[in-house]
Amino acid sequence: MVGEQAVNDTITRAQLTEAVYQEVGLSRNESADLVESVLDEMSDSLIRGEMVKLSSFGSFQVRQKGQRMGRNPKTGEEVPILPRRVLVFRPSHVLKKRINDDPGATPEPMSAPSFASEGAIPEPDTSY
């Protein structure tokens, strides 16, 4: 997949549970249940066809897709792709900004021109 990196870490329910445990002061077991509970509430809402809007994070929306013809990539055989419901996530501006402002997310940080070198350019030429 384009632009995906293999070097980074993967966060799972375990880390979310640990963060809730540290942050809220409930037991680890209860923290794990509550993380699951949050995901369940979101899933249930989406399955009912509702949109889930989490301000400063993003929104999840269910879209209805019509039938179209696809192809089995292995056999080349044409097969109908049945109408289905898909989930679309739209990140909020706040999330997009956070991700772009943190240099950790950029594997090759842009080398910003330093003021020192810029300042050096207009130095008067004293060679003549």
């Binding site: 384009v2 994070f57 999840f60």
Partner: protein, 93 residues
Amino acid sequence: MTKSELIQRLAERNPHLLQRDAERIVATILEEITAALARGDRVELRGFGAFSVKQRAARTGRNPRTGEAVDVDAKVVPYFKTGKELRERLNGE
């Protein structure tokens, strides 16, 4: 469903939970996911879905109103892929 409705439902389903704690649980989860993505990490929640970031190269775009060419910087965008179980449940499987 909005964030405050999510908090409310979480509190209703867990009657011993203080409203304040329900708020902090939701905030903590979203903050952890955001911080992970900002570090370039992936967040994998089996059955629900996975969040990751994708690189977008710099490109020359166009102001759709004026047709003028504008340079668009390289950027990182969040991406979500629906988990298998949720995808199936959305389709009543």
